[in-house]
């Protein structure tokens, strides 16, 4: 694994197109899922997807072989989303990711939910409704923990927050998830 990451770091430093292509191929769905969970907005997630990979290319020399690639990748993606929202709305970082303040990017009204557009399977519309109602800050940690299966420390690294914040968001996120699932069943 360490050797593989060392090769990856070397490829990124040199801007090797084959390495970047392989990374896009491998991480495309996971990155898009993460971006969608943070933004809750499909067009923004799509734009940030491209922007994230361009940043991976530009900052390739900063990647270190001891880092898990997805942690570094999600960290870049998150930074870009926050930066975009801050420039667009002129609010602070804390306010942007404050669960009480709501979702950063609201889906356009009258259109199908962004989750409904990309989710697959029978549970699609029900889970789309559930995810729509969960604040972005909780949706993000739920995605990182239960879909990406990252460790709490890795999540804290991505979110750039203390471990206690990550845990409290996870507890509240789980509670909200349970509540929303129950409500959609009624």
């Amino acid at each position: 694994m360490e050797q593989q990451r060392a090769r990856l770091a070397q490829g990124l430093r040199g801007g090797d197109p084959d390495v970047v292509d392989a990374l896009i191929e491998e991480y495309q769905h996971r990155l898009f899922r993460y971006l969608l969970s943070v933004t809750g907005n499909r067009p923004t997630a799509e734009d940030m997807f491209q922007e994230t990979w361009l940043h991976v290319l530009e900052r390739g020399h900063q990647y270190r072989a001891q880092w898990k690639f997805e942690v570094w990748l999600f960290g870049i993606a998150r930074h870009l989303v926050i930066d975009l929202a801050r420039r667009k709305k002129g609010v602070s970082l804390d306010a942007l990711m404050d669960p009480e303040e709501g979702i950063v990017f609201q889906p356009s009204t009258g259109e199908p939910s962004p989750f409904e557009q990309v989710l697959a399977g029978e549970e699609r519309s029900r889970m789309a409704r559930v995810l729509d109602r969960i604040p972005a800050a909780y949706r993000e940690v739920l995605t990182l923990r239960f879909q990406e299966e990252l460790a709490l420390e890795e999540m804290a690294e991505i979110i750039k927050a203390p471990l206690s914040t990550v845990k409290s968001r996870l507890y509240r996120g789980l509670k909200t998830l349970r509540k929303q699932i129950e409500e959609t069943l009624v």
């Binding site: 896009i24 769905h29 799509e46 361009l54 290319l57 989710l119 549970e123 789980l174």
Partner: protein, 167 residues
């Protein structure tokens, strides 16, 4: 079983999913769940909620991936094109610096000899030496800087081209 033990069981159920619980805690929870229908239902509901999240399948749109791949390749090509003249310039500068280091004493001696031969003041041939060495480089640098500033830059920030209506 009292209300407190049910609350403790529910706390442990969540903690087990978030940060893990001790072996003792797990044993206690299992024995509680075995005898408590209500908490057992809660455990199943929590497991089902997490599972429904875990099995969600999200795919990146193929056209977005293709567009991204093209943009990345374009950026790599742009970097390569920009890097080539820089490499040549670096090599030229290195060779020139090495040449300067080797030839400076001889040039200095030549200027001193010329100064004596034509009987000019030391200051004059020394100024001539300085101009001889630094003027061409200064002029070329000024031209290069002017050309760099005058060249229009490609749009390097795709955010500038984003459709903000969706936000």
């Amino acid at each position: 079983m009292n209300q407190e033990s049910h609350e403790h069981a529910r706390e442990l159920l969540q903690a087990a999913r978030v940060e893990g619980i001790s072996a003792d805690g797990l044993r206690w929870l299992e024995s509680h769940l075995a005898g408590c229908n209500e908490c057992s239902k809660e455990a199943n509901a929590l497991a089902a909620a997490i599972e429904s999240l875990r099995v969600l399948s999200v795919s990146a749109p193929a056209d977005v991936v293709r567009r991204t791949s093209l943009a990345v390749h374009r950026r790599i090509e742009l970097r390569r094109v920009n890097r080539e003249p820089r490499v040549l310039l670096g090599m030229a500068a290195a060779i020139s610096s090495a040449w300067t280091l080797f030839t400076t004493p001889y040039t200095w001696a030549s200027f001193a000899w010329l100064g004596q031969a034509f009987r000019v003041h030391d200051m004059v041939w020394q100024l001539g030496f300085v101009v001889w060495w630094f003027l061409p480089g200064t002029v070329l640098s000024a031209i290069a800087a002017w050309r760099h500033l005058a060249t229009p830059k490609p749009v390097s920030n795709p955010l500038a081209e984003m459709d903000w209506r969706a936000l």
